[in-house]
């Protein structure tokens, strides 16, 4: 049985802490900035062809994000090794300058300050998580540096109004976009029931799909948000069942993802289309929780998987395995997200033939489409990837299959209507 390797719970990846903490971090950064004697400005010009291009990045090698932080570092290292083997950038060798932030929003500010004003790196790229990307991008902006990143897709990153931050991955609002586009293109407008945990990543994910589908004539008949600590989902499931909506879209984590399936079965309500943000991706645990005969047709989105045929993905997987060992199924999506960041940086700088950050920012804002291991990348004004095309997987005959988007990798045909509960499929 294929088990998707997602990159942690959405809530974990996009943690946010108190505004007070951020304010304290920002204050510390201001003090540091004031004390800094380095007259700093964004690196510019093409430089000598023999001088390496230095890229600074803060990674979380300890603390809450240490696991993902290591995967992020490995992703950048894989990209640098791959690119150096293919002529580097502008013919110059890439050197990565890593600093560890201990998963701390305060330390990440200090790190980027040091990378820019002391180490004088040519470029900076993003750290792990929305929590760290937000303050990091603000610091980069202060010094005129562009921050391309792949693992900070929470709405708070884009609501800062910064022009220097660019997310190569699917941000929260785009996680369900492939599903929404498929639904809008293959179904007549119909009723949809939505429910989501009030999570800073899950809710925007649901709202992104809702906004797209509403614009295409689909009617939202149930829209329920529930807090993280909810343990009884029966009233929400009852409301969904009572609506008889043929399409149900749920912003879930695994516990509620399992519970909703169970409650909908108890309510004897089987929607034609059911997609959950997380839960069905848990492989055997999902099957055990909801029963094998009830999994058929249930869908779940994912941003990347090892078998994808997107740009340079096969090479990335092969090189990663050569460098770090393990199996393809165990490669974290963090690796792909970091690698994508490097790919976009490479394409943009090579096009500009310059290491100027201002030229880079202008080019990234110029509606150009880039290629990455996660699919196409085209930046919106706020820095989100408007061309993001996340995958959709669906349970079919006891296996989680890649069904969307069509034409990428080798997706099996999507099961357009979910079988009734207990019917397998």
């Amino acid at each position: 049985m294929f088990v998707m390797k997602l990159h942690g719970k959405p809530g974990q990846r996009h943690r946010s802490r108190s505004a007070g903490l951020l304010a304290a971090g920002a204050a510390a950064a201001l003090v540091l900035a004031a004390c800094s004697s380095s007259g700093s400005s964004a690196s510019s010009g093409s430089g000598s062809s023999t001088t390496p291009i230095t890229i600074g990045v803060s990674v979380s090698l300890s603390g809450d994000f240490s696991g993902d932080g290591l995967a992020t570092k490995q992703g950048y290292e894989t990209w640098a090794a791959f690119q150096n083997a293919h002529g580097g950038i502008l013919g110059r060798k890439i050197v990565l300058d890593f600093l560890s932030d201990g998963s701390s929003p305060t330390q990440v500010i200090t790190n980027y300050q040091k990378l820019i004003t002391v180490n004088h790196v040519n470029f900076v790229v993003g750290p792990y998580s929305t929590l760290l990307t937000k303050p990091a991008s603000a610091i980069a902006n202060r010094y005129g540096y562009v921050m391309i990143e792949g693992i900070g897709g929470g709405p708070s990153v884009f609501s800062q109004g910064l022009k220097n931050v660019f997310d190569v991955s699917a941000s929260a609002a785009f996680q369900l976009i492939t599903f929404a586009k498929w639904l809008a293109s293959t179904h007549q407008p119909e009723d949809i029931a939505y429910a989501s945990m009030t999570d800073p990543f899950l809710q925007p994910m649901l709202d992104g799909a809702r906004s797209y589908l509403t614009a295409h004539g689909f009617k939202s008949v149930v829209y329920k948000l529930y807090p993280l600590e909810t343990t009884d989902y029966t009233p929400i499931a009852s409301a969904i069942a009572a609506s008889k909506a043929p399409v149900v879209v749920l912003g879930t984590m695994p516990p509620d993802g399992y519970a909703f399936v169970q409650d909908l079965i108890q309510d004897k309500f089987s929607p034609k289309v059911l997609i959950e943000a997380s839960g069905p991706d848990q492989g055997a645990a999902f099957v055990k929780a909801v029963g094998a005969s009830n999994t058929g047709g249930i869908m779940v989105p994912n941003t990347w998987y090892p078998g994808s045929t997107y740009y340079q993905n096969a090479q990335m997987v092969a090189l990663y395995l050569k460098m770090f060992g393990g199996t393809a199924d165990n490669i974290s999506a963090d690796v792909a997200e970091a690698f994508s960041t490097g790919q976009v940086l490479t394409q943009a700088v090579d096009h500009n033939k310059s290491t100027s950050n201002s030229a880079l920012e202008s080019y990234l804002h110029s509606d150009v489409t880039f290629s990455s291991v996660q699919g196409p990348v085209k930046f919106l004004a706020d820095g989100e990837n408007g061309a993001a095309t996340p995958f959709v997987f669906q349970w079919q005959k006891g296996t989680l299959q890649d069904v969307l988007p069509a034409g990428v990798a080798k997706p099996v045909p999507i099961m357009a209507a979910k079988p009734a509960w207990g019917a397998g499929g």
């Binding site: 009030t198 329920k224 948000l225 529930y226 807090p227 600590e229 909810t230 343990t231 009884d232 029966t234 009233p235 929400i236 009852s238 409301a239 069942a241 009572a242 695994p254 516990p255 399992y258 519970a259 169970q262 409650d263 079965i265 108890q266 309510d267 004897k268 645990a285 055990k288 929780a289 909801v290 029963g291 009830n294 509960w421």
Partner: protein, 290 residues
């Protein structure tokens, strides 16, 4: 009809919350201890049923014949080894002791079962009974019936037996109870045993209706404490009423308005009740008067 369904759901789910909260309120009534470990003990009960079902294929309801006695003994052992030896500031110190018991139990459960979510999935967990457009999930019907039987049994024990009289005497005045020859240590030990035993039953239902790991105890304990405060510390019937009121309020608000406001509304009601009646619905004074 959706409103009626929400009320039914609230009553049925409230029944098994009463089972989990019953142990907490009983222990407080007799021992003046707020058992902070009750949440993890419920989860322990869920894991025991899960293990018996997964490895020995014993039906979770049948497994209670094993898990309740086991948990009863655990409760007695905790009392004799950790509560009784406390000589000074027993009320405060026992709070810390039970907090420590909970923390250690969580660590051990994490070690044994890992932090992956598990769920007890039996053949009847997805079945339900339909009456017109109303749905009665079978698992909640069974759980509610079991709660009535178990809480009724505890009520009988409290008010119709010699042990119950000893227990109530210990609740009213421990010193006087000792003077008339009641062994209050054994009464306390048995009470903790009963409280933990009820957690086994509540945990089994929790495991059938929720995916869980050791950390699930945090959500549980906060709800159980709210129920016990609302119903009145020490009152079994108060816990039952409070559980049902809490779940009905939450479910009603969830369907009529938004689930986000369900708990908030309940806590607002809780504050209002406490302003008017600080001892809760059926607080200690009322219990002692029975």
């Amino acid at each position: 009809m959706l409103v009626l369904q929400a009320i039914i759901d609230g009553i049925l789910v409230g029944g098994f919350y009463a089972l989990m909260a019953g142990g907490l309120t009983l222990v407080f009534g007799v021992m003046d201890i707020v058992n902070f470990a009750q949440g993890i003990l419920v989860v322990l009960g869920a894991y025991l049923s899960y293990a018996l079902y997964s490895h020995l294929n014993i039906d979770p309801f049948l497994s209670l014949l094993i898990t309740i006695p086991v948990m009863f003994v655990v409760g007695i052992a905790v009392y004799w080894t950790m509560i009784k030896p406390i000589k000074q500031d027993r009320v405060i110190m026992s709070l810390l002791v039970m907090f420590a018991v909970g923390t250690v139990a969580e660590g051990i459960l994490d070690l044994i079962f890992s932090s992956n979510l598990v769920e007890i999935h039996t053949s009847y967990v997805n079945s339900s009974v339909r009456l017109g457009s109303l749905v009665f999930p079978a698992i909640y019907l069974y759980a509610f019936a079991m709660s009535v039987v178990l809480l009724g049994g505890v009520y009988y024990l409290l008010y119709r037996t010699r042990f119950g009289r000893s227990l109530r005497a210990s609740m009213q005045n421990p010193t006087a109870a000792r003077l008339v020859g009641i062994n209050t240590d054994w009464v306390s030990a048995f009470t903790l045993g009963i409280g933990v035993g009820l957690a086994a039953a509540g945990g089994m239902v929790f495991g059938l209706t929720n995916s869980f790991d050791a950390a699930s105890s945090y959500d549980l304990i906060s709800r159980l404490l709210a129920i016990v405060i609302f119903g009145g510390f020490g009152s079994l019937s108060g816990a039952l009423i409070a559980s049902i009121v809490m779940l009905v309020i939450q479910d009603l608000v969830a369907v009529v308005w938004s689930p986000t406001w369900g708990q908030t509304t309940f806590y607002l009601v809780l504050v209002l009740v406490l302003l008017l009646r600080p001892q809760g619905l059926l607080g200690r004074k009322a219990v002692r008067a029975q």
